[in-house]
């Protein structure tokens, strides 16, 4: 039972807590999609990977009793769907966006079909580390209960950034993404690289789904994702294909999503539909503020079908 009353301090705390709690799925999906898009393909199937990952993780965790096994299984299903996407897209004149939409519907359908018996039971959750134990305010402690997957995501963003910019593998990936002709001339396997990138992207999206069902909100049901995978794909564009910016964008989205409920909880109750829309309004404002007719987008892969 909490004794401390925070009042308006609850709002920034909720935004901080929300940024930590709700950002992880956005982070994983957008990092995965960033990698895939850097190789020159857009995988809109990430929403399907996220939902299927959430279902698989919950089912495996429930059946095996090990949430980590669930995370791995979720990653594996994402990888499988990624493989399917890459395999179909390697053929000539196949549109990767259309395949992505088809796989999104497929992933969601499969998840709903097999997910029926797992809506009711309660599966073991992923552990969290209490970083707030220095504080004796229970609300701060609760906000700083940080899930291990979020920490992985925090490390993954700079790692991915480094791999892309400073390693041979990263150079190869970027070459394939910027000009498949140049990559061909250098003897890189364009389809091979894209396949690996899409599979890793799918793996990360599946892990993001595992976070949804195994930690926060922590339960499998059919309305769990409500489009978070698609938003994460859009975040990649918003983040200009930069893993570090994907991290900031995910944090921003998670935090802004907490704004609506937090304001209502302190009694500021008018216009909650507007505050619930805060993440989207914020994205629009930032997009408009950072765009310019004088220069093209920086960081955009040249092979991407939306820019070609």
């Amino acid at each position: 039972m909490t004794e401390t009353v925070l009042g308006w301090w609850g709002v920034p705390l909720a935004i901080l807590g929300g940024a930590i709690r709700a950002s992880t799925p956005y982070l994983f999906v957008s990092l995965g999609e960033c990698l895939t898009e850097k190789s020159g393909r857009t995988n809109l199937g990430q929403e399907g990977n996220l939902v299927l990952g959430a279902m698989t993780a919950y089912a495996v965790s429930y059946l095996s009793g090990s949430p980590w096994l669930g995370v791995l299984a979720a990653g594996a299903t994402g990888m499988l769907l990624g493989l399917l996407h890459a395999w179909v897209c390697q053929f000539k004149k196949v549109n990767d966006i259309a395949v992505g939409i088809a796989l999104m519907l497929f992933g969601i359908g499969v998840a709903f079909f097999f997910g029926k018996p797992y809506i009711q039971p309660t599966a073991p959750h992923l552990p969290a580390i209490g970083f707030g134990n220095w504080s004796d305010i229970p609300q701060v402690r609760a906000a700083l209960e940080i899930n291990v997957l979020f920490l992985f995501g925090l490390l993954l963003a700079p790692l991915l950034s480094w791999v892309l910019s400073s390693t041979r593998w990263g150079l190869m990936l970027r070459t394939v993404g910027d000009s498949s002709d140049a990559a061909d001339a250098l003897g890189f396997s364009v389809n091979g690289v894209r396949m690996v990138a899409t599979m890793i992207g799918g793996f990360l999206a599946g892990v993001g789904g595992a976070f949804l069902s195994l930690y926060y909100p922590g339960s499998w049901n059919e309305g769990l994702s409500s489009g978070q995978g698609l938003i994460a794909v859009a975040l990649v564009v918003f983040a200009r294909w930069d893993p570090m910016r994907c991290l900031y964008a995910a944090l921003l989205f998670g935090g802004a999503g907490a704004l609506g409920p937090a304001l209502q909880s302190v009694g500021f109750s008018s216009g909650y539909y507007l505050f619930n829309a805060a993440p989207y309004v914020l994205t629009l404002i930032l997009m408009i503020a950072t765009c310019s007719p004088q220069r093209t987008l920086t960081g955009v892969p040249g092979e991407l079908s939306i820019t070609k």
């Binding site: 922590g218 049901n221 909880s265």
Partner: protein, 375 residues
């Protein structure tokens, strides 16, 4: 997605049936498969294991299934669109259903109103209380429970158990039914402790797991120690309350398994009784009520068993209120009642009984509720 795909499939199948010989074949085969059993169909808007609205109805269907001479068919995840018309028609034409319970509020108008006149020998009964005598088809009906009576009792339990005197209510949308639950819960709590407040958070829709989780966390951060809700699936909220060590009060179905420590009680539907009563009437060929309404006394709603945190004194207060509901002399809404903006909504000396139509257009939150009915 798969529900839609399946619907289109059955729809196509049905079209095929009517145009070819399969039509006569299916008629010859299907009734034989079910024997002389009465076929009863149930249609749900979501998944029937959701610890919420649909599960409550599915429990009713399970009770019907246990009756002799009855065959139950069910379909989940049917959206409130033309899809439900297709489901109803295929239940009638392919399965030979004589009685259908489409259980979601949005199924009635225009979907049931379109299908019912086409099949006068089939009875379609809808959960929502929207039937109007003389205006709607004779083979349709509607039933509806005053679940706010159960919320009033849950409010007594919450008010008697809360240490901080601050309750939380996570609701989907500010529509009259929801506002009535919030108000009854608050009035119940205030009957124990007049100073109690209820903080409301509207999430904007019936199933928003992430937003519901955020709302629960925000309320707990504000020192609220009992949370109840009006959303389709309370599972996420109840689990968060239990994890963060506060009390919760359930809704729709019994969620006590999810929170063995903190679950106080809950407002539940009692569909098994309603559905078995209807099926018995139908089997005996007796007329059925076109508009069935009622609360605790009529057995349409009930209260979950009290959890371990509820003191004997609080339980006695709640039971006393329950007894008054059973006797039929409990009035929740009586003057002078003010809303949370200070306006008098029910003048002194006026008492509105549960059946009063005025209560069905409720657009205010009573004093003590922190929240806003506007969007």
């Amino acid at each position: 997605m798969n529900a839609i795909a399946k619907k289109t499939f059955t729809h196509t199948l049905k079209k095929l049936c009517t145009s070819t010989f399969i039509f006569s074949l299916s008629f010859a085969l299907l009734p034989a498969a079910y024997g002389d059993d009465v076929v009863v169909g149930f249609i749900y808007v979501g998944s029937k294991g959701d610890y919420g609205y649909n599960q409550a109805h599915a429990l009713g269907a399970a009770a019907v299934k246990a009756m002799p001479g009855v065959k139950v068919i069910e379909e989940e995840n049917v959206p409130e669109t033309i899809a439900v018309q297709n489901t109803m028609e295929s239940m009638i034409n392919l399965d030979g259903a004589k009685l259908i319970f489409p259980t979601s509020f949005g199924y009635f108008d225009p979907h049931i109103l379109t299908v019912a006149p086409k099949y006068p020998d089939v009875t379609i009964l809808h959960a929502g209380g929207l039937y109007q005598e003389g205006k709607h088809p004779l083979n349709a009906g509607s039933y509806f429970g005053y679940i706010d009576e159960a919320q009033y009792i849950a409010g007594i339990v919450a008010g008697g158990t809360s240490k901080s005197g601050k309750l939380g209510f996570i609701a989907a949308k500010p529509i009259p039914q929801v506002l009535r639950n919030i108000n009854s819960f608050t009035l119940g709590a205030q009957s124990v402790n007049p100073k109690i407040t209820t903080q409301v958070i509207f999430t904007g829709d019936w199933a928003m797991p992430v937003k519901e989780a955020e709302a629960a966390n925000s309320l707990i951060d504000q020192g609220i120690d009992v949370i109840t809700m009006h959303v389709d699936s309370p599972k996420v909220i109840i689990e968060i309350c239990e994890r963060r060590g506060i009390y919760s009060s359930g809704y729709h179905a019994d969620q006590s398994e999810l929170a063995p420590k903190g679950y106080l009680t809950g407002a539940e539907w009692n569909w098994p009784k309603v559905y078995t009563d209807f099926v018995t009437l139908l089997k005996d060929g007796k007329p059925f009520p076109h508009l069935l309404r009622g609360g605790i006394k009529e057995g349409l709603v009930k209260v979950s068993k009290y959890g371990p945190a509820v003191s004997a004194k609080t339980a006695a207060l709640a039971d006393a209120a329950k007894a008054k509901f059973m006797a039929g002399d409990m009035v929740i809404y009586k003057g002078e009642l003010k809303d949370n903006k200070g306006n008098v909504v029910i003048p002194a000396g006026t008492a509105l009984s549960q059946t009063d139509i005025q209560l069905e257009s409720m657009d205010y939150l009573v004093a003590g509720v922190i929240g806003n009915t506007g969007s």
